[in-house]
């Protein structure tokens, strides 16, 4: 590192770590983070606050449902709640989990990972990022205070309170700012020969899809505000056509549901490589998947309107075909990850457990999502039944939040500079979360198949046992989330300090393994850089038995040979014949350490 840069850095730090800062200075430092790590930490704290807030709403709902099927407010009544409050809490639970927990935690990971992996360590346009964050915070608190019982704006012409629309408008502008600042962070100081590594490519693709999508939802919301529905008696626009409005909303909303998942997908692949100690089976294929996911995430939106009165061709192309197709890149991605992990004897700590459970959650959630689209695959209609909350929780809780947890268990200690406080608590968190949420998801799915409509407060008694199961699962998951927060807090305050590292381990290893997979596939160009930080060009990561034969290339083909047996026997020669082999500097593999 050049010395002038270091000096500037030190002076800045010194001013901010003034031993006797004024109280105003302290508050300002919290409000306005210039440093990417500080900003990520702030987002992470808020993500956890939202998890707690939205979780409490969720537990209140599940407790009510677990105790009463008649609509009598058994537990909630004692607390002074009304039936309307029950549905308000459902709104708050969904909105805050989505835009609070998932978005904010995802942003925290992305804002930390992008500057670190690229080696710029710079938060681009910090004012925009900070402003965006506080707008989201403001908007979400306003949502909680808005008394809206109508879930979201797509239920127009049901009239939400005006404050709900304003809150959503503010929150979405905030999210757009965060996205713009994140893309800027990914592009700032981009060198002419710099390329994006996998995690950054995923994040940028995600941000572009989301950025476009938010523009449509923002215009839908502003239309509402300016119409008689907005609550201000404005007549600038007439009441929007419901179908057009819903299409606009869901068009936006589709990138939105995948947002968190795509933010960490690249990191998840890195972690899979790290734990398997070998490069991903095909890096190039993952790149194709990124492109496919981008196109499809923008195309499947009509499946949310499957039983709306829309023309059949629209439904066929944008819901039926596209929704079937989007499973393809997911399946390919997980196939590649699982091939890479196969036979690798990884260390099963909280990160890997969460990662594998997340993949399982995505597969189950995705497979069971297909009957939701207009294909009456299973001879029953599950649209708007509990089947959907089942799908959502598979995708949001087990898959998206699960992969966040996976990443956080590895990344957060590096962020705090301290060792994880307790692996035991982490394991408890994993079991509680997976089992608890699994019970809830399974219960929801059964209820959906049995025809229970979602967003209800009364139902036939035959559904009640499943609600009791969901309630128990929810409390277990809630308890485990508390264990997570405690673990993180203890790590932050009391964890054993780690020696300061210039480069976190996951960044170096991730970059090295990704490079190695390009080398293996013969599409590594040494003229391109993926990061400014020095990292080994390739890593020797063969299982110990094979270390004795140094001529063998590091390759995941070893694995699939055993997988597919004789069929691909000839693959042995692959590594040797591959083009890039001729360049010896790329070849291996810890070469700069020797």
């Amino acid at each position: 590192m050049s010395s002038p840069a270091t000096e500037t850095q030190t002076t800045v730090v010194d001013r901010e770590h003034d031993p006797n800062p004024s109280i105003g200075r302290v508050i300002w430092n919290i409000i306005y983070s210039k440093d990417y790590k500080h900003f990520a930490m702030k987002l992470f704290c808020f993500g956890m606050i939202w998890l707690f807030v939205a979780g409490s709403f969720g537990l209140a709902l599940r407790t009510q449902a677990g105790f009463s099927y008649t609509g009598a407010l058994l537990p909630l009544g004692f607390l002074g709640y009304s039936t309307i409050a029950y549905f308000q809490m459902m709104t708050y639970h969904a909105v805050v989990m989505f835009f609070g927990t998932i978005f904010t935690t995802g942003f925290a990971i992305a804002y930390y990972a992008v500057p670190l992996i690229r080696g710029t360590r710079k938060l681009a346009v910090p004012w925009l990022a900070n402003l965006g964050h506080w707008m989201v915070v403001f908007g979400l608190y306003m949502v909680i205070g808005s008394n809206s019982q109508y879930m979201f704006t797509f239920l127009i012409p049901l009239k939400n309170p005006a404050s709900f629309y304003i809150a959503e408008a503010i929150q979405f502008i905030g999210d757009e700012f965060l996205i713009i600042a994140l893309v800027a962070t990914a592009y700032i100081d981009k060198l002419p020969n710099e390329k994006f590594s996998l995690p950054i490519s995923f994040i940028v693709m995600d941000c572009v899809a989301m950025g476009i999508g938010i523009i449509t939802v923002e215009s839908a919301i502003i239309w509402t505000i300016l119409s008689p529905l907005g609550g201000f008696n404005l007549q600038v626009f007439s009441i929007p056509n419901v179908e057009v409005f819903r299409a606009a909303f869901w068009f936006e909303s589709h990138p939105l549901v995948y947002f968190g998942a795509f933010l960490v997908a690249g990191l998840a692949i890195w972690f899979a490589m790290m734990y398997a100690k070998r490069p991903i089976y095909s890096e190039r294929m993952i790149r194709y998947c990124i492109a496919m996911l981008f196109v499809l995430t923008m195309s499947v939106y009509i499946h949310h309107m499957a039983v709306d009165p829309i023309p059949l061709w629209l439904r066929d192309v944008f819901a039926q075909v596209a929704t079937e197709l989007i499973a393809v890149p997911f399946v390919i991605m997980w196939t590649l990850v699982l091939i890479t992990l196969k036979y690798s004897k990884p260390k099963w700590d909280a990160t890997l457990l969460f990662l594998v459970a997340a993949i399982a959650g995505n597969i189950v959630g995705g497979a069971t999502a297909e009957p939701l689209q207009p294909i009456p695959a299973a001879d029953f209609t599950v649209h708007n039944t509990m089947w959907i909350p089942g799908h959502i929780h598979f995708m949001m809780a087990t898959f998206t939040l699960g992969s966040f947890f996976a990443a956080l268990y590895y990344v957060a200690p590096e962020l705090f500079g301290r060792k994880l406080y307790s692996q035991g608590l982490a394991k408890f968190h994993f079991i509680g979360w997976t089992v608890g949420m699994g019970a809830l998801e399974a219960a929801f799915k059964v209820q959906g198949a049995m025809g229970l409509v979602r967003r209800e407060i009364v139902w036939f008694s035959i559904y009640e046992p499943w609600f009791q199961m969901a309630m128990i699962g929810a409390w277990l998951a809630g308890l485990s989330a508390v264990a997570f927060i405690v673990n993180m807090f203890m790590t932050w305050r009391f964890g054993e300090p780690m020696p300061p590292r210039v480069l976190p381990r996951w960044v170096t290893i991730g970059l090295a393994l990704e490079t190695q997979s390009r080398i293996n596939e013969g599409n590594h160009d040494p003229n391109y850089i993926y990061s400014r930080i020095p990292y080994p060009i390739g890593l020797q990561a063969l299982p110990s038995t094979e270390l004795a034969e140094p001529t063998k290339e590091l390759s995941a083909t070893k694995v699939h040979e055993s997988l597919f047996g004789k069929l691909i026997r000839r693959v042995r020669s692959y590594g040797v014949t591959s083009g890039s082999r001729s360049s010896s500097s790329d070849k291996t593999i810890g070469s700069n350490s020797s």
Binding site: T83, L155, I156, V242, P309, P374, D379, V453
Partner: protein, 200 residues
């Protein structure tokens, strides 16, 4: 085989699966009801399916917070009676906000095993066709009653008034003289018209 070939093959298989799903499912899709398909399919559509008859036609009007059938049981607009084994064409609309016309078999799902539904969107008509085919035993055990419920959240005013309590009843009677007589009597002769012939 090269790694590339392998991956290509795998991707190809996945796409092929999608294609097969498409081809297998397509017959369900356009027709609302398929004569050959014994179960019948409820597929919502924006356009009225071409009618080859015979079809019973029931108009469903949704509003906060009730379903109104036309024709309906005398004095009870939230109940209607249809004949078994003749497809029923439901024409669904909403007078105020978005609702969901959702039919299920309540407690009897295990023996009958289906539900179907369609959205009631203000400003639009939505069509759905279903052929009710209860077994002979179902009539006596009460399983020929189909519970209709609103499936799209449409607001709550107070406990007992609002979306969770918005429901209705479809009574299916056998397509024989007893059934028809019962339908006539309970519906004051105002039975669902049966369309025959080709109408498109």
């Amino acid at each position: 085989m090269k790694k590339r070939t392998l991956l290509f093959a795998w991707t190809f298989i996945l796409f092929l699966t999608v294609l097969v799903l498409e081809i297998v499912y397509t017959p369900y899709d356009y027709a609302g009801y398929i004569q050959n398909n014994n179960v019948g399919e409820g597929v919502a559509q924006a356009d009225r399916p071409p009618i080859e008859g015979p079809y019973q036609v029931v108009m469903v009007t949704c509003e906060q917070w009730q379903f109104l059938f036309y024709p309906h049981v005398a004095g009870s607009p939230t109940a209607t009676i249809v004949l078994a084994n003749i497809p029923v064409l439901f024409i669904v609309r909403s007078m105020d906000v978005t609702h969901g016309f959702y039919v299920n078999t309540a407690g009897q799902w295990a023996s009958q095993g289906f539900q179907f539904g369609v959205m009631a969107v203000p400003g639009y008509y939505d069509y759905v066709v279903w052929n009710f085919q209860p077994t002979a035993a179902a009539y006596t055990s009460g399983q020929s009653l189909y519970h209709v419920q609103c499936s799209e959240y449409c607001g709550v005013a107070a406990s007992g008034l609002g979306h969770p309590w918005m429901d209705a009843l479809i009574i299916v009677v056998p397509n024989n003289s007893t059934g028809i007589a019962m339908q006539r009597q309970m519906m004051d002769n105002n039975t669902p018209p049966i369309l025959t012939g080709t109408l498109s």
